[in-house]
Amino acid sequence: MAVKIFIATDRLDSVLEKLSTKIDLLIPASLKDDKSAPTGFVPFVPGTAPAFDRQTTTPLKKALLPQVETLLRFEYHKDPQGSPKSSVTVDDQRQVRPTLVFGARPCDVKALTTLDRVFSNGPYVDPYYVERRKNTLFATLVCRQNDAKCFCTSVGGGPADMEGSHLRIVPVDGGYVVEALSPEAQTLLENLADAPDSARDAQAGQIVEEALKRRVGELDTKGSPEAFRKRFDQTDYWFQMINQCLGCGVCTYVCPTCYCFTITDEVENLKGERLRSWDSCMFYHYTLEASGHNPRPTKLERYRNRVGHKFSYIPERYEGLLGCCGCGRCIRSCPVSIDIRQVVGHLKENTSE
């Protein structure tokens, strides 16, 4: 019998506080005291009001792939004899604290399955990502309300998809039914709150059932890798679809599956760090070579690469896996209303043209 508890809305803060003594908590919350402000995942401190009512503005990926992290530290040592030769020491020490993400959405957690393939399925394994991944648990909220920009079921997810989740949170009348889906999650729930009464348990069951059946979005991604290849050289298609693109990085930075990064060194005097930070394929400098040659010189090639990466290259490379979780953030945040569903959807139309 799975462990289930009920957390009444007014007890949520105290339960989270109790939970936070066992494990670091990351919860979706407003990034400003104004409730309607943009939201993101922030470390829980007592009093932080969770924003469970809507999808966060910034994605969950930063829990495993922070916007900036230190890959290694280095220090130069001057030769005491005064010779110009310098020696250097390098260390890559890192520390990971067990963390529970409480209140993620299924789309956000689903996106991590794509990141997992890239970062941990070799041939090279990224230790920074993998160590965080192993130490992070996900309590995922069954999504009761999707909006016009969501399309999770179109890309293999769903409002109640618990792939990669350790706990399921079901919003019911007056609170949340939280159910452990894995043994490590069970221990977390111990002595936290009472089991739900039968009425709420039944309601939770109904909500999950409804959510499992719900279809969200109508995008059909079957055959998109081939369609993309055919469209690749049709400049007119890309011109028509995305000429209004501003070439900014919003879509990539709010995307839960966009993982591309850059590595830069920052140094002050003799000490420095090698940093890894989010990068965006929408930027000119992303592919600019030292020689001055740029294989993707304009936003047409760059946007095309973004679509290709998600709907053609990743599927080809990783057995049909998609580089999109259907969260719709790129559509919501695009300053010029580019809708990736249209760009992908039209790939297959009259490709023979």
Binding site: D147, L246, G249
Partner: protein, 348 residues
């Protein structure tokens, strides 16, 4: 149309006879636009305007070369994008030869000022553009709409007089336009295009005629003590994810791929995501626009993190107006104040 903007508090109000007439006016503007573009298109290389997007609350820029697409053109308070940047940024015009026919473009009052600034700085010559001026009553900030009503699946959004009417999966929301207008519109002094070849619809009444109204938000910040201001900007700019949407949307940020915030040589900024980096980035953006910014508000509109970035430039605009008596984007022959000097001004 009622003179001025009388604030109505009631969110739900019966559609009056006058409002029906106003809706008709808007429809007429759209038809007028279609007709004018249809006439002009053969003489144009391309027409840049607004079209409906998959989200009824937002338009998307459209590039028309073919008369078939003219029917997609739209105008009105939902057309928030400033299109003038496309005239100077690749690749929209890479395919357009320099000696080609002029390019048609739709501009609101604020957009027309960007156009003036671009002409002034010689990124563009006047004869390269055919300007379709559209008097503006203010544009809708969709984020403000979403803050007022929870929207699930908006099927349609229409503007009838002072009201925005939304059909959200069968539920009708009627929201006073005044309450969901973009922040920049509330202090707008130039709702009518300052430069144009044709004008569509009736001219609009400026919402502000004085600096105090235009720069009310700047004053609100300045009333606070220094520490509070610092705290305010620290907390606002902390949200910045450095996606550079504000920079790319700005029609006057013409450096684009050569922008110093991304180059390693010179290296102004590191990749760190600390407050100093974010502060400096916005300082760079603002200082490079000092005396050039026309206050079109694109930077703020596009910010996914809802940082009031235009406000930073508003302050500089205010300084330019108060100190040097200059407002950008009004006179194509003027010289931006920081590109010139006056030996006599011993005490500025």
């Amino acid at each position: 149309m009622a003179v001025g903007w009388v604030k109505r508090s009631a969110a739900h109000h019966a559609v009056s006879e006058i409002e029906r007439v106003e809706k008709a006016v808007l429809e007429t503007s759209r038809m007028q636009l279609h007709k004018l573009v249809e006439e002009a298109l053969p003489e144009l290389e391309m027409m840049i305007g607004w079209a409906e997007s998959s989200d009824p609350l937002q338009t998307t820029p459209i590039f028309i070369r073919d008369a078939k697409s003219i029917s997609k053109l739209t105008c009105g308070p939902l057309c928030s994008q400033n299109l003038t940047g496309y005239l100077v940024k690749p690749p929209a015009l890479d395919s357009v030869p320099k000696d080609a026919k002029p390019i048609g473009i739709c501009v609101k009052g604020c957009d027309s000022r960007s156009l003036v600034a671009l002409i002034q700085e010689k990124f563009l010559t006047r004869d390269r553009v055919r300007i379709f001026g559209i008097p503006c009553r203010g544009t809708v900030d969709w984020r403000k709409v979403e803050k007022r009503v929870q929207l699930l699946n908006v099927k349609s959004a229409t503007v009838e007089d002072d009201w925005l009417i939304l059909d959200d999966s069968g539920t009708t929301h009627k929201i006073a336009l005044e309450e969901v207008l973009s922040r920049k519109c509330l202090g707008c002094r130039y709702p009518n295009p300052v430069i144009h070849d044709v004008l569509i619809g009736q001219s609009a009444t400026p919402r502000s005629t004085d600096l105090a109204t235009t720069y009310r938000d700047v004053d609100a910040i300045e009333k606070e003590p220094l520490e509070q201001r610092l705290a305010f900007w620290q907390s606002e700019l902390d949200r910045c994810i450095r996606c550079y949407a504000c920079r790319n949307a700005c029609p006057l940020c013409v450096c684009q791929d050569k922008c110093i915030v991304e180059t390693r040589e010179p290296r102004w900024l590191t990749q760190r995501a600390g407050i100093p980096e974010k502060f400096l980035f916005h300082f760079i953006h603002a200082m490079h626009l000092a005396g050039r910014c026309t206050g079109c508000g694109e930077c703020e509109r596009v910010c996914p993190m809802e940082i009031p970035v235009t406000l930073i430039k508003e302050k500089l605009n205010k300084i330019m107006e108060e100190m040097l008596g200059y407002a950008a984007g009004l006179d194509p022959d003027a010289v931006p104040p920081l590109l010139t000097f006056n030996p006599g001004e011993t005490e500025i």
